[in-house]
Symmetry: C2
């Protein structure tokens, strides 16, 4: 029922024309990779399979549909009442695969009436999943493999479920952790988070602390932690820092002595937040713990991270001789958040930031730079005859017929291009073979052709649904691993932000010819 009305009305149209059982093939594909990029991470397969598995129209839903189509033949609803996906077959990429424009991500085969009903939900799942996974993967490219990426977009997502999808697919695309507790529970993603400004603001002074004490790390003694912190604050000549903030940090140390990560920008990052963090950190170290680091959430993140790092280094250097355990303070984690997007990651790189970990929310989950992928679901074959959709916009013309898709590899292991062939051609002539030259045609431009001899060939569209789920369900971790591995194999010129080189998705000679013949036949003369 989570579908567009026109799927139901079309379905009735097929039913009335006695064509609802006619075998059809739909391709799901997109026309352009998002974010002005040249690659896309495919996401959503496991949700698609779960949807197909449970697809039914309930009696309540039927009752409602009847009110929307009062003039329809009652037998149509009887037919609707008993449909499911047992006669549907789906071939697709595996989740986390790198995919490209025009090629089918999913090939859905079955009675046209049923395949049509699935369209909207399949698009809804795959579009956003792939978009956010791609966005995450692009951010991973921007920061490199060593930095930590934390997804924290729940509050800016399209409602609760949007937030949960964002956490899931950002992880597949290469994020390390999420702030979303439910995503942690459901998907096993590492959950991370410390405190917000409200926690700092809620403390006005040391009187707000119910105890001045902390237990030492070995549990042997209880010491006056407040006095210790104040001693270091005095030694650093930082008595003018905000006392409410200092009290909040002390309270946080008392609650999480092994996980002290302080948000330092509530009042003034360099004049109050970082000095207060350092005073607490030295005190923590003295009693046997070690602080995690700081979080910056406003201002010039590159500059603040550089200056904060200098303060960390200077403090370690100053106490190095008197306090051996201070070693490592200079390398404490600096987390940065505040409206970070892909663009600002590159700007931070250029500015020589000292950030270890990025918390990214709004721009990750909303994909501001391109908030929709634009996957479509087009009929490519009906009753074994290829079908095409024409358009004045060339890019909107679909590649007809039931297709196979092969990825062709270079000797170095990098994919060189993908080729689409009709199922029939593969049946007659076999798939492309390693060591044999293959002619590749541009789908639109007859003048553009290219021959390559692949070192390896992969048949990428595998059967994932045949009336029921085929094979074992994959974990999110497996999909993430595939994404990271395929990204690693792809040539860097496809991944780069500026002027990326398009990856070639071609047609076989035969498919090119049959497509253009059909095009001419269907256009008005």
């Amino acid at each position: 029922m989570l579908t567009d009305m026109y799927q139901i009305t079309m379905c009735y149209g097929y039913w009335m024309a006695k064509r609802h059982q006619t075998p059809a093939v739909f391709d799901m594909f997109f026309r352009k990779s998002p974010f002005n990029g040249e690659f896309t991470v495919f996401g959503g397969l496991s949700q698609v399979l779960a949807f197909l598995h449970t697809y039914r129209i309930s009696d309540t839903q039927l009752t409602y549909l009847k009110t929307l189509m009062p003039a329809a033949d009652p037998e149509f609803f009887e037919w609707l009442a008993q449909i499911d996906c047992s006669k549907v077959k789906v071939y697709g990429f595996k989740e986390g695969s790198i995919v490209f424009p025009r090629e089918p991500l999913l090939r859905v085969e079955g009675p046209i009436g049923i395949c049509q009903l699935l369209e909207t939900t399949l698009l809804c799942i795959v579009n956003y999943a792939s978009l956010v996974a791609t966005n995450a993967a692009r951010m991973r490219v921007a920061v490199g493999p060593e930095k930590t990426l934390l997804e924290m977009g729940l509050r800016r997502a399209q409602g609760p479920d949007g937030g949960l999808s964002a956490s899931r697919y950002a992880h597949i695309g290469g994020f390390d952790a999420t702030s979303n507790v439910l995503a942690g529970q459901l998907f096993g993603i590492k959950v991370s988070g410390t405190h917000a400004h409200a926690f700092v603001q809620s403390f006005s002074g040391l009187d707000d602390l119910p105890t001045r004490n902390i237990k030492t790390a070995d549990g042997s003694v209880t010491v006056d932690f407040v006095s210790l912190v104040l001693k270091y604050r005095l030694e650093m000549q930082r008595e003018k820092t905000n006392i409410g903030e200092l009290s909040a940090f002390i309270a946080y140390c008392q609650a999480f002595p092994t996980a002290f990560l302080a948000l330092v920008d509530t009042y003034d990052t360099l004049e109050s937040g970082v000095p207060n963090f350092l005073a607490c950190s030295l005190a923590l170290i003295e009693v046997g713990y070690f602080p995690l680091g700081i979080r910056l959430d406003s201002g010039d993140l590159a500059m603040l991270s550089i200056q904060a790092r200098e303060m960390l280094k200077a403090t370690e250097a100053k106490y190095n001789s008197s306090m051996p355990n201070v070693v490592g303070l200079a390398a404490a984690t600096i987390v940065a958040s505040n409206d970070i997007d892909e663009e600002s990651l590159y700007q931070l790189n250029a500015a020589g930031h000292q950030i270890d970990s990025f918390g990214i929310g709004t721009h990750l989950v909303t994909c501001q730079a391109q908030p929709a992928l634009g996957c479509v679901y087009k009929l490519v074959e009906m009753n074994s005859a290829p079908r095409i959709k024409l358009s004045q916009d060339l890019v909107k013309i679909s590649v007809p017929c039931k297709k196979r898709l092969f990825r062709l590899y270079l000797p170095c292991g990098a994919p060189a291009g993908d080729i689409m062939m009709s199922e029939q051609e593969v049946a007659s002539n076999g798939p492309p073979l390693p060591g044999n030259p293959v002619v590749l045609r541009h789908p639109m431009d007859a003048a553009v052709r290219w021959t390559m001899t692949p070192s390896a060939v992969r048949d990428v569209l595998q059967c994932v649904w045949d009336g029921k789920i085929v094979g074992q369900p994959e974990s999110i971790a497996e999909a993430r691993k595939r994404c990271v591995s395929e990204m690693g194999l792809l040539k860097p010129e496809h991944l780069r932000r500026e002027n990326p080189v398009p990856y070639k998705v071609s047609l076989s000679d035969e498919l090119f010819e049959s497509m253009h013949k059909l095009w001419l036949a269907e256009a008005p003369q």
Copy 2:
């Protein structure tokens, strides 16, 4: 559990500091209206109330939380196990209200530990709801009150729930109908939809039709509809139109003789789609029905709508004398879709389009121009003392203390501005009164002040939750009505797309002074 981890860790921090029960006040507000505009439609209240009503932490969730915080005191989890919102009070705007930057949309009061836990979910609900309602309202401003706006964004939303929220809040913001069947069922929004390209593509020719017949509208006779259609096609000298498309239109007429709305761009809009629509329409009219119209989904929508309208008019004119019932064909509905956004609505206006109804998907639900509202939730009072959050970014400084908010009206009924006052000031001096001059201060700039004498005053933040829902739940229709009515009252200069005039949200003299005193006190010296 749909929350950020730091809410839980902070909560533990409060609990350890024995402050989790301390009374606190949080304001939810945004800093800038979206889409470079100067107004925002508040959405999400009924979902917020439903969330508060059911808020509990289950045993399964507690078990998971314990794994995330293994070192935490077990008594903390015992406390978490029994919390609910019975000690929380919420004051807020009603759903569909027009709201402005910096002013509280919701004021949440209660034990800080609990109020803190609510933050992420409240933001998640209100942010997207208000954003999409505002986006919808801006599109309504663009097309005027007479045109029909259809939401069809399900396939491009952030997953299923994102799509459902979009349908709901687009309707509140002024959309007329949705393509989303489930939204129709759940929210009573009018559902609308016809067919897609696949339906047209699925037909190759007249042989695909199981019957040539149709029953006349009065049910008296069965006639050969195909021959009738072909007769008109011949009369119009349009024998070269795509025959598969014509067959699909005939099948659709047979299924929906009273609701024939044809998607005309599968092969060629003006050379095939519109002529095929006209041939079917004349045949339908001859047998006693009347067509609804056409849908354009690609190309230059303004030009195509103008030319299609000319063809409709010419056909009505040609058949006017011989077929009296053809009257009205010239005014058949022209629906347009294809990546429409607010900008393109204004471009279509400028191009003198002939569109009656706009189908808007991607740009409505994703809010491409600004995909997140940026609502925040800030502590403004703790244990009856005002709290402030400072920042190097002036716009990020919050207005402290538990506040009241009054909307001041001009004699014409238009709101002139909103004023925030502390609860305490209102208790001592009373609210602003009609006919009495009020001094209004800019929140940041001491030099900007203004006096006005309101004709009417409205106390806008009403108690909506006091341990339980206060008053009767509102329907979506009521919220939509409020939105339309408040938009109508607002001065047009706040609504316009180009250089809209900011609506003034001010502080009382007393609140201004106390805010700036606190600011000085909290900044590092």
